[in-house]
Every structure is written in structure tokens, then in C-alpha cells.
């Protein structure tokens, strides 16, 4: 636009906040030392020291930063800070995160002698904790799970401070923290402690695609009563509970309340939600990618069952090879390396938006068989764009709001941030009868806008 809008330097952070950030930095440094130190006892101390510093630093910073201002929308300088506007800090963060995923997935496997490649020292520093929780030594996935859960809890603490004025946000944040800690971390650990299969009760097919593969199902069925229940749970949640819950509450019951990927996005990813691309071009990519991925995983599952039903004669090794490639391309590269690694560049829901087959499945249900919608309050919208800005799914929310239309989009995860951020109280997440669900406000005429196609 016409006049150059010079952005002056940012106001300096208060000393106490800097101190808290220094604590976080020291924690990261201690983590590096834990990685470098081959002595298991010392390594353990470095690691616990690091976790203590990270915890203290993050929570103290959040309290100081958000607590010093009255409760309310706090977005000052969001697009002027390098860390949240694709500046140098963001690129470095992204590089570190992607690097971590690459190392974790491909350079930290067990070599058969209890040695875990690059991350070895960190893994062994967790042995004592892992024994206490799971009655077995740590491995790279336990390390990952610990970090992941910690990220959800600490950044969840930050989100609770930041959004303390909105009960919807507070309850929702507590929910994702609870499900990550309880269902995705402690419970699987305890199951292993009692020699039961490691099972995640908050992940379902087609996101956790192998839960309905014949291989997983048969091995669970063989592992006793609890295994049978797990198969039952997985099938019921995927095929029955998902449509029913989505009918009543929309996709949000899962994506922004229960899911672990969503949980990380809503907490650790919250500083990056504004980065999700709102353009029509991005929407077209979304449609091109997410539905084919759903189709692939449905077809793959069906083929594997056909193969299984024909006494493992139909496909030869092709099915397993397909599953392996899907696991590599979608399960690892897309959901991990790109999905989380690029948070600071592409926004916090890249995976959920472009890749997740569960999101595609829930989205189809939400769009066509649900009572959920985001209502628009008459003609109050001033087209300011705050709602679109915070939409992590890249929905250009204002396009609907300024036309007085309800927002019914397959991708909306119901995080509620658009409603929270709107300065005019225009948006409200509601479940209601399906009749009249698409009805626009009579106060506004439709315009000739074309959003897609």
C-alpha cells in the first residue's frame, strides 16, 4: 500500500522478563550439556537441571509478560517481533526443530545394544524415570514423549496466562493438557509397566493409521482382555463415536480439545497461529492434499484387510511396503518434520490443515453432518481482520463475518480464537439445530464475492 509504514524498534522487555528468558536459554544450554555428557549420572543431573530451568523460565516469563497487563486480548507487537513474524529468530527455531525431528527419526534408533545414536546420552539420562513409570529403560520415543508432554504443559501454562479472560480458552487449554499428560503419556507408560500393550486412547484411525491395520488388530487381540478392549475402543471411536460427537459438537471435540497434535499446536504452537496462510491459493493446496491423503489411507487399510482375508496371498509384500512408505512420508516427514518443524514459518497447524487424514474425515462430517457453526452477529463486523489473523487453520474468517454469514468450514477446529480476538463480539461458536444452519444475517445483503474457484 501507498505510504511506507516504518516499524520503529520494539520497546525493551522489562528486566524481570529478560531474566526469565535467560533461565530458558540456560535450560537449553544445559540440555546440550546433557546431550554431550557420556556420564549417565551427570547427564541425568544436566537433564533434570535443564527441565527445571525450562519450566521455571517459561512459567515465570508467562506470568510476568501476560500477568502484568490486565486480562484481555494481548497481541501487541505480534507482527513486529522476529520470533513471531518469520524473522531470523523464527528461522533459527525452525531449523533447530526440524533438525531435532530428523535426528530423532533417522539417527537415533536403537542399534541393538542399547545405544541410541545421536540422542543416546539424553535417552539414557531418562532411564531412571522411564523405569519408574514403565518398568523398562528409556528409548528415543520415550524421550520424545517426555519433551512433547513438557512442551504442551509449559506452553499450556503460557496459554492459560495469556487467555485467562476467556473461560472457553481456559477450559479448552486445560483439556488438551490433561489428555496429553494423562492419555498420551502417563497411561501408555503405566500400561507398559503392567506388561500391557502400549496404547494411546486419545489417538484413533485414520490419524493413528495402524490402529485399524490387520497387523495391529491381530497382535492386540492376542495380548489378552485389555487388548481386546483396545481393539474395540479403537474401532468404536473411529467409526461410531467420531461421527456422533462431531454431529453434536463439530470437529473441535477432537482437534482442539483432545488430540495430541492439536494439543501441541494449541500450546507450543500458539505464538505462531497468525502465520497460517489465509490466501485462496493456500486453500486450494489444502483441498488438493488433505482429501487424497485420506483416500490413500482408507484404500491402504482396505487393501491390507483384503490381503489378510485372502490368507496373505493377495498383495504379496506390496501392502506392507505401502504402509511403510505411508509411515515415512505422512507419519514422519509430514506430521513431524514439516508439521512441527515449520511452526515458526508456516504456522502451527500445517499438518492438521494440509495433511491429517483424521482432520479430513472430521472435516467432511463437520461440513455435512454437524450442528456446529460459528454464528455471525448481524452487521457488527468492521472487517478489521483480527479473526482471520488468529485463525490457525488459515480460514479467512472475515470473508464470512463481513457478509453476515455463519462460518461452516471443514477445516475449522473450533479453537475459538477468532471469537476471542474479535473486538466487536461478532463471532460465536454454537451447536444448534441443522435447519437454518447456513442462514445469513438478514441485516446484510450477499455480495458477489467468490472465495474459491
Amino acid at each position: 500500500m501507498t505510504p511506507a509504514f516504518a516499524a520503529p524498534p520494539l520497546p525493551a522487555a522489562p528486566a524481570a522478563e529478560k531474566l526469565a528468558l535467560a533461565g530458558v536459554a540456560a535450560g537449553l544450554l544445559a540440555l546440550l550439556l546433557a546431550l554431550a555428557d557420556a556420564d549417565p549420572t551427570r547427564g541425568q543431573w544436566w537433564l533434570y537441571g535443564a527441565l527445571a530451568l525450562l519450566t521455571g523460565g517459561t512459567l515465570a516469563w508467562s506470568g510476568l509478560h501476560y500477568g502484568r497487563r490486565p486480562a484481555g486480548v494481548q497481541q501487541h507487537n505480534l507482527w513486529r517481533r522476529a520470533s513471531t513474524s518469520r524473522g531470523a529468530v523464527a528461522w533459527v527455531t525452525s531449523l533447530v526443530l526440524t533438525g531435532f525431528y530428523v535426528v530423532l527419526y533417522w539417527f537415533s534408533g536403537n542399534d541393538g545394544h542399547g545405544h541410541f545414536g545421536v540422542l543416546n546420552n539424553l535417552v539414557h539420562a531418562l532411564d531412571a524415570f522411564s523405569r519408574a513409570l514403565r518398568a523398562r529403560p528409556a528409548d528415543q520415543w520415550f524421550l520424545y514423549g517426555t519433551f512433547y508432554t513438557l512442551a504442551v504443559l509449559l506452553m499450556g501454562g503460557r496459554a492459560l496466562w495469556k487467555y485467562r479472560h476467556s473461560r472457553y480458552q481456559v477450559i479448552r487449554t486445560v483439556s488438551v493438557m490433561f489428555f496429553q499428560l494423562g492419555f498420551a503419556f502417563l497411561l501408555p507408560g503405566v500400561l507398559q509397566f503392567f506388561q500391557q500393550p502400549e496404547f494411546y486412547f486419545n489417538y484413533f484411525w485414520p490419524l493413528k493409521y495402524d490402529y485399524l491395520f490387520p497387523g495391529t488388530v491381530t497382535s492386540l487381540l492376542q495380548s489378552g482382555g485389555l487388548g481386546v478392549f483396545m481393539v474395540f475402543w479403537g474401532a468404536v471411536m473411529s467409526l461410531l463415536a467420531t461421527p456422533v460427537l462431531t454431529y453434536f459438537f463439530g470437529k473441535r471435540w477432537y482437534c482442539s480439545w483432545v488430540c495430541g497434535c492439536g494439543g501441541l499446536a494449541e500450546t507450543a504452537g500458539d505464538p505462531y497461529r497468525q502465520l497460517s496462510d489465509k490466501s485462496r491459493a493456500a486453500w486450494r493446496w489444502e483441498v488438493r492434499l488433505i482429501y487424497p491423503i485420506l483416500a490413500i489411507i482408507v484404500a491402504l487399510t482396505a487393501l491390507l484387510w483384503a490381503h489378510f482375508a485372502t490368507g496373505n496371498t493377495l498383495l504379496g509384500e506390496a501392502g506392507n511396503v505401502g504402509a511403510k512408505w505411508y509411515g515415512f512420508a505422512i507419519g514422519s516427514v509430514f506430521s513431524g518434520v514439516i508439521g512441527v518443524g515449520f511452526y515458526p514459518i508456516l504456522g502451527n497447524r500445517v499438518w492438521c490443515r494440509f495433511g491429517c487424514p483424521m482432520a479430513a474425515y472430521l472435516g467432511l462430517l463437520q461440513k455435512h453432518f454437524s450442528r456446529f457453526r460459528i454464528s455471525t452477529n448481524g452487521g457488527q463486523c468492521i472487517s478489521c481482520g483480527n479473526c482471520s489473523n488468529v485463525c490457525e487453520m488459515g480460514i479467512d474468517v472475515k470473508q464470512y463475518a463481513q457478509r453476515g454469514e455463519p462460518i461452516i468450514r471443514a477445516s475449522c477446529v473450533g479453537c475459538g480464537l477468532c471469537s476471542t480476538a474479535c473486538p466487536r463480539g461478532v463471532l460465536n461458536l454454537e451447536n444448534g439445530p441443522r435447519t437454518g444452519r447456513y442462514q445469513a444475517s438478514p441485516l446484510i445483503h450477499a455480495d458477489s464475492l467468490r472465495i474459491l474457484g
Binding site: T2, Q75, S383, G385, R424, E430, L443, L449
Partner: protein, 445 residues
């Protein structure tokens, strides 16, 4: 038909979109001086505060204009020749029209204070103002804002976001006294206090003092107090931009005079939005409306007339909304600061001062509800409007209050407390709350 629209604000753009819908074959050209593409003026403050980027406050992506065949000319129209149906542009070209819409918006008013042209003194209306404010408030410690209205509060919030001390001069005894009753104004004042904004009520600007370099160094109030500062924001209102209209024989007063079809005194020339002044406003309505939604409605209305479906402008039930720091404000219908004898009002305030609701109703039976003020809670516009149109008695409205609740899920519901307060203030009524919150409740009522 070639329709030329001067001004790509919400009024001009709303008209262009409606004409495109009604007449797919029309040729439409938008001429605007300020920006190549339409942007949301109401969002300027969020750009300053770093919540949004300039590109985020464009309501439509750039491809939109081409795809909908809306021609954009980024230039100033310097002269209008209504005999030859021609505009002269500052880029040396002319533009012929069949129909012309003037949607030139407003400009900030200044009252001729001594020193008002010093560097560091400005208003906030458009993009150049935003750029100036970003530049001139850089590294300063204190700014003075003149004016106790919406823009005054916005400017204070903007300064505050950058850690700049803000002093607000308000002529009246309370904030926005022409619109808000004292209780509501008090809640806004509490927001100022919570954010350390110093508000000087009953204080008027006398003069602005400069330093040797011609930059503002202080203001002096009419009471003689000198307040040192490095920047002054004048938020004392806007007036219709008549510059182009005055180059032709288009009749103007304070604004460009229009009839109810938004026609000016000259054939084929129309005016709408901030710049238009209604010759005969409906009873109780103002002649010049300077709001986002009225601009949109006027733009859409005039589009119908332009397309051969003459449509008088009917604003409908008044509404508006704003946000003062963390306090949201909505108003519907008649909600005067000082209701006359024919109106009563019921006021409820949350004990912690976080929310308030005022309902205005006719004093005479059946006490029909005429308006609402809501602070810190969200009301459903369609429901409030229906009540006002249907002249619902206040007792009915209170009994069904939940139907108007537009707060997010899990938010505290105040209906019980509100009805209890009403029953205390108007014991002769004894309302029982029958309807709680919910979409289901609304749709099945």
C-alpha cells in the same frame, strides 16, 4: 453503463459489489487517492499496535478486483465537470462517466488551535496519518490526546501499546458524555485507570507549544496548565470531505446534500457514506452518518438506484459497537445519554465492574423496549432488533433475556442476577427468568 465511484472506502466498495451483482455487464471504475486497494479504516489501530500487518487489513485479496471486473484507478480526482460528465485526475488524465458516485468520506476537523501545525501534531484518519504516527511517536515518552470520543480512546490505547504515557483531555465531565450515561462512562474510565491512562475531564486544549525546531513540546489547557509532551493527537471529530464536490455545482452544506435515494442536486451524480448529508433525515436520525455499517448500507442502497431499481435509504434500528481497551461495548436502538421523561432505563452492573447492561423502555405502559447498552457482554443483534421492532414490553424482554446472550460457551451467565436486580428496582413487575442462553432456545422460542 459506466459507473465511476470516487473513493474506495467501505461505501464505494459496497456500491461497486452490489452493482456488479445486479448488473453483471456494467463497467465499474473505482478511483481512489489513498490506496491502490480497499482497506479497513477501522483496523488502522491494530497495524500500529503490531497485531496486524497492512496487508492483513485488506478485506479482499488483490485478485478479487480483476476477477470481478472492478477497475481500479489509484489517483486523486481534482475536478468534476457535471456538464460533460467528466472527472479530471491528478495523473493528467480524464475519466468520463455515465453515473458518478461520490464516496469521498471524511476528513479530520481541527479547530484552529494555535500551534496545530507543529510537527508531531496530527489526527488519525488514513494511511498517511498512520505512517506519521508511527514515525513521530517513535522513542517518545508522552503523548497528549485531545478528545473524549472513540478515536480518542483508540489513540490512547495505541500509545499505551508502545509504552508511551498517554494523557487524554476531555472537555466534558465524563468520557463520551454525548453518548454514554454516567454509569457506562465510569466503567470506561475504570479501563483507562487500569491501563494507567491519565484522563483530564473538564479540560480543553488552549494551545500547542513548539520548540525551536518547530516540534511540539507541550500543550497548554484553557485553564493554563502546561503539559509537556512530544506528540499530540487531535481526536475532535471528522467532517465530510467536500473537496471534489466543491469543484462543481453539486449542492453542499456540511456534507454533500442528498435525498432519500442518495441523489445529489445534479443528475447522474450520487453521494453516500461519510460524505453525504441527508436533506430530510427520518425522525430521530442524524443527517450525517459516519459509521462503517451505515457506509455499507448506503453504498448498497445507492447501487440499487444506480441499477434502475430506485430504493430509498432506510437505516433501520440503530446499532454500533466499540472496544475500550478490554471492555467491549454494543448498543442497539435508542440509547440516549440523558433519556427524557418519556423513557425509563434499567441498569445492571456486575459487582466487579466487568460487565453492565442497560435497557431503555417507554415509561408509559406497556413499557416497550427501545434500546440497549451492553458493556463486557455480547448481545445477539437479531434478537435485540426484533424486540425493538416488535415493541416488546420490558418484562417480556427480561424474562427471555437468555435468548439475546451471545457470549461464548462457558462464560458466566448473568441473566439471573440481571432479573433479580430488575425485580428490586421495579418491584411492581416481578419478572421470572424463563429463557436461558442457547441457540436451541432462540430457535425454538
Amino acid at each position: 453503463m459506466h459507473l465511476v465511484i470516487v473513493g474506495n472506502g467501505i461505501t464505494g466498495v459496497s456500491c461497486a459489489l452490489a452493482v456488479r451483482r445486479l448488473r453483471p455487464d456494467a463497467r465499474i471504475t473505482l478511483v481512489s487517492a489513498e490506496s491502490a486497494h480497499h482497506y479497513s479504516r477501522t483496523a488502522l489501530m491494530y497495524v500500529y499496535m503490531g497485531h496486524l500487518r497492512l496487508s492483513d487489513i485488506k478485506p479482499y485479496e488483490d485478485w478479487f478486483w480483476d476477477e470481478n471486473r472492478l477497475g481500479l484507478v489509484h489517483a486523486t480526482a481534482t475536478a468534476l465537470n457535471t456538464r460533460e460528465n467528466r472527472l479530471t485526475l491528478d495523473n493528467g488524465t480524464t475519466l468520463a462517466y455515465d453515473q458518478l458516485l461520490l464516496a469521498t468520506g471524511s476528513q479530520s476537523t481541527r479547530y484552529g488551535w494555535p500551534g496545530q501545525h507543529l510537527a508531531g501534531v496530527q489526527s488519525l484518519y488514513g494511511l498517511p496519518d498512520l505512517a506519521a504516527m508511527a514515525r513521530d511517536t517513535h522513542a517518545i515518552t508522552r503523548g497528549v490526546v485531545v478528545g473524549g470520543g472513540l478515536i480518542g480512546a483508540e489513540l490512547a490505547e495505541m500509545l499505551h501499546s508502545r509504552g508511551i504515557e498517554a494523557v487524554v483531555l476531555v472537555r466534558d465531565a465524563r468520557y463520551w458524555a454525548s453518548v454514554l450515561p454516567p454509569e457506562e462512562a465510569n466503567l470506561v474510565d475504570a479501563q483507562f485507570e487500569a491501563n494507567q491512562i491519565q484522563v483530564r475531564y473538564r479540560t480543553e486544549l488552549g494551545e500547542i507549544l513548539g520548540d525551536a525546531q518547530g516540534r511540539v513540546r507541550a500543550v497548554r489547557t484553557t485553564a493554563g496548565e502546561e503539559i509537556p509532551c512530544q506528540w499530540v493527537g487531535l481526536a475532535t471529530g471528522v467532517a465530510p470531505n467536500l473537496a471534489l464536490a466543491n469543484t462543481a455545482d453539486v449542492e453542499t452544506d456540511r456534507g454533500i446534500l442528498v435525498d432519500e435515494y442518495l441523489r445529489t442536486s445534479v443528475p447522474n451524480v450520487y453521494a453516500a457514506g461519510d460524505c453525504a448529508q441527508h436533506r430530510r433525515p427520518a425522525a430521530g436520525e442524524v443527517a450525517i452518518e459516519q459509521l462503517w455499517y451505515t457506509g455499507r448500507m448506503q453504498g448498497e442502497t445507492v447501487a440499487h438506484t444506480l441499477c434502475g431499481q430506485p430504493t430509498p435509504y432506510r437505516r433501520g434500528v440503530w446499532f454500533n459497537s466499540a472496544k475500550f481497551f478490554n471492555l467491549e461495548y454494543q448498543t442497539y436502538g435508542q440509547a440516549p445519554a440523558q433519556p427524557g421523561a418519556e423513557l425509563s432505563s434499567f441498569y445492571w452492573e456486575h459487582p466487579a465492574g466487568r460487565a453492565a447492561l442497560r435497557i431503555y423502555f417507554r415509561a408509559a405502559s406497556p413499557q416497550a423496549v427501545v434500546g440497549f447498552n451492553a458493556l463486557g457482554l455480547r448481545l445477539r443483534q437479531a434478537v435485540c432488533e426484533a424486540w425493538i421492532r416488535q415493541r416488546a414490553p420490558v418484562a417480556t424482554v427480561l424474562a427471555q433475556l437468555g435468548a439475546a446472550n451471545f457470549d461464548p460457551e462457558f462464560f458466566p451467565q448473568h441473566e439471573q442476577a440481571i432479573v433479580a436486580a430488575f425485580n428490586r428496582q421495579f418491584p411492581e413487575q416481578r419478572v421470572v427468568l424463563r429463557q436461558r442462553k442457547g441457540l436451541l432456545a432462540r430457535l425454538t422460542s
